[in-house]
Amino acid sequence: MARHRGRGIATIEYPTGMNQNGDPSQAWIKVKPDGRIDVFAGTVDVGQGSKTVHTQIVADTIGVPYDWVTMDVSNTDSSPICTGSFASRGTFIGGNAVRFAAERVREKILEIASKEMEIDPADLEIADGEVAAKGAPDRKLGLADVAAAATWTYGELITGTGAAFKKYSTVDDDTGEVDSEPHAAISYAACVAEVEVDDETGEVFVEKLVQVYDVGRAINPTLVEGQIEGGAMMGLGLGLLESSYPYYPSLEHRGEKFGAYLAPGLDDLPELDNVIVENPSSDGPFGAKAIGEMANNAQPPAIMSAIHDAVGVWVTEAPATPHRVLKALQERSEPRRDGKRIVYDEELSIRGLSATAGKGPDGTGFILPDE
């Protein structure tokens, strides 16, 4: 009757963008007559902060203050296509779309400024909303004046479009070999979970999560931490609490309201130690990779391994409910040893459950890993 402490590690990787690509994101930008920037894109902000991140990317790509940029992702009449806010594609692919559009806008601004200043565009730079001659910063022209000149002197609209797209990668159905890189980038993470396990009740208390994420470049560190911490909560739900079908595969007791479905709340929040590693990608905006989805992948296996470290039993069905932990503690089942083979979890296996070892009457069913 005691609480036992344990620690477990997991290391994961996760691709950026739709698997096998073929997922365009596009954007267009126009500049108002006073030099303020309007961005139209289709990337839905699902709460992760993509509008904020995209605004930062545009501001720095053009060289204007952040609050000069307005993002409109509100409708399909004004926005070009974005495949969607999923597959961890917002910062990288959506971000590249607005970056490419901003680069075109920057070129157009320099072209107009060049005429006004009588300096070659290659000798101009933009920072803080001002176009200045390289090496002669006193020779400068505000972006408001450039935009005004475009509008009233040259009769032009400063605009630009951007399209981020990587061609569809084809997979060989016999071998799994692809004909081109099937992702935009790959992010990595490690998580160390520290838990306490009550051997009387089977309850698992996650005391601390140390989480290290390589995001290439943190465009907005606060929002990266938001993903890491929000992901940690979701990982806790996956590892310890949530189940749509508590008696899976049975449909019985399907949770149908909050009171019958146990999602983590703030009371469950452990101590969090977040570490951001920046190993830049070659193609992402400012070296960014994705963080969105992977943020709930590392905690569940780290927790399961911490449970094992604490009380010596493996729980490999998630979530590790008190029931499952107690059952494992009572059974204390050892893996079967057969020569050099160590076989865990036979009672859960296809071979253990299916009347035909998963093969079906004609032997054409599942290929099993022990054959």
Partner: protein, 453 residues
């Protein structure tokens, strides 16, 4: 001042925390009707009789739709990738999961719509439900899906396959084979904002659809396909979502709201109740994974054989995509030179499963990482060092033969060890992600590094 790298406040944060952000349910259009769906009360049944006449005649009801009202009822989420369609928008001769929509009513208000549902006459012929994916091929399991027990369209195969290197040789040479079974279960996305859409017929013949979709153009494509309309007759308004996590890619409410609005010539809002959100909105999939790893006494992963069953629920949706992604990442953050992987999409009589944060990979991270710790225990090896030894390095080839350019297994493991004060031997402490050489390039890895497969 540079914006990138700066802790700028969220663009829309003040609106969110002060309740001033306008979500779909906050949009008010005069004359809006409420939609309510008749859903299957059985996981598997034939529909013997369906009669909506009395509901249509009920005062306050403006439209009732069934599959007969849908220009193109059967649609597939992955048709653009060559996967045939298998899911009806509204059930036809049979229902394949509890909560499957059969008929939908649009009425003056919520109460009237609910009363009208009671007037729809339906007669079911109950059939046995198939629920355990492990038994999908058993003689007493009666496949209900038109394609049989599993998705048959991975080329000519019934599984997504990875075949790399000499896996049998690896298992022969191994000092130890570690085998385990891993079963992460379904969870709900649990967005605070349930599925909701508002479809407004415009005077110019277009439809404006206020949508909580995570993917406006994708969802617009789904509606256009069902309606057989060009995109310029549709306008999606959205971009602000009250929680998605993958569950709002499926386009759950938009098409039906649109069909009702067109039939009733009135704006129609369909907002699911929390009960519907749980019952009928697709979940993360339950997965069943079996791994056997061939390892050496000094901690090299020589080979992996893996079988994955993905519980798709009643229809395919994005399942084959998820299993392919899963297959590409099944060695995790490590380089394993010899691989044999088979991933199956298995149909069951539960709500179709779909994308959720980490789609296809959350499952394999769970399995592969517990497996790594079991291997470390079996070998008496430090789990950090086992990971560092087998870590992805620059130039390594992945399961699908992509050369890695910037892998970070080593930096993240070292940072984690450092953070908790975990002691590592000097040879591990000094590791980087640089290309393998010396002792980190043993003979069994030669083919996986610097060319060949």
């Amino acid at each position: 001042m540079k914006a990138v790298g700066t802790r700028l406040p969220r663009y829309d944060g003040v609106g969110h925390v002060t309740g001033r952000t306008v979500y779909v349910d906050d949009v008010r259009v005069p004359g809006t009707l409420w939609a309510k769906a008749l859903r299957s009360s059985h996981p598997h049944a034939g529909i013997v009789r369906l009669d909506t006449t009395k509901a249509e005649q009920y005062p306050g009801v403006h439209a009732v739709i069934t599959h007969e009202d849908v220009p193109r009822n059967v649609y597939g989420h992955l048709e653009a990738l060559g996967v045939p369609a298998d899911e009806p928008l509204l059930a036809e001769q049979a229902v394949h999961y509890r909560g499957q929509p059969i008929a939908v009513v649009a009425a003056e208000d919520e109460a009237t719509a609910l009363e009208a549902l009671e007037l729809i006459e339906i007669e079911y012929e109950e059939r046995p439900a198939l629920l355990d994916i492990r038994k999908a091929f058993d003689p007493d399991a009666k496949p209900f899906h038109q394609w049989g027990p599993v998705f048959p369209h991975f080329g000519t195969h019934t599984s997504r396959r990875i075949r790399k290197g000499d896996v049998e040789g690896a298992f022969d040479r191994a000092d130890l084979i570690v085998q385990g079974v891993y079963r992460p279960q379904a969870i709900d996305q649990v967005p605070i904002e349930p599925q909701v859409a508002l479809a407004v017929p415009e005077p110019d013949g277009r439809l404006t659809i206020y949508s909580c979709t995570q993917a406006m153009y994708f969802s617009m494509g789904v509606v256009a396909a069902h309606l057989q309309w060009p995109l310029n007759k549709l306008k999606f308004v959205g971009g602000t979502v009250g929680g998605g996590f993958g569950g709002k890619v499926d386009t759950a409410t938009e098409t039906i709201s649109a069909l009702l609005a067109l039939k009733a010539h009135r704006p129609v809002k369909w907002r699911w109740t929390r009960e519907e959100e749980f019952l009928a909105s697709s979940t993360r999939a339950p997965w069943h994974m079996e791994i056997a790893d061939a390892v050496t006494q000094d901690g090299w992963l020589l080979g992996r054989k893996m079988t994955t069953l993905h519980d798709a629920g009643a229809y395919t949706r994005f399942s084959s995509y998820g299993v392919t992604k899963h297959s590409f990442h099944h060695p995790g953050a490590y380089t394993i030179p010899n691989l044999r992987f088979d991933g199956y999409v298995v149909y069951t009589n539960r709500t179709p499963t779909t994308a959720m944060r980490g789609f296809g990979v959350t499952s394999v991270s769970f399995a592969a990482e517990i497996q790594m710790n079991r291997i470390a225990e079996s070998l008496g090896m430090d789990p950090f060092e086992l990971r560092l030894k087998n870590a992805n390095r620059v130039g390594d080839l992945t399961a699908n033969r992509v050369r890695l350019s910037d892998p970070s297994t080593v930096p993240v493991v070292l940072a984690a060890a450092d953070r908790i004060g975990h002691e590592l031997k000097a040879e591990y402490r000094q590791m980087t992600n640089a290309p393998r050489s010396g002792e980190l390039l043993p003979e069994h890895l030669l083919a996986s590094v610097g060319g060949g497969s």
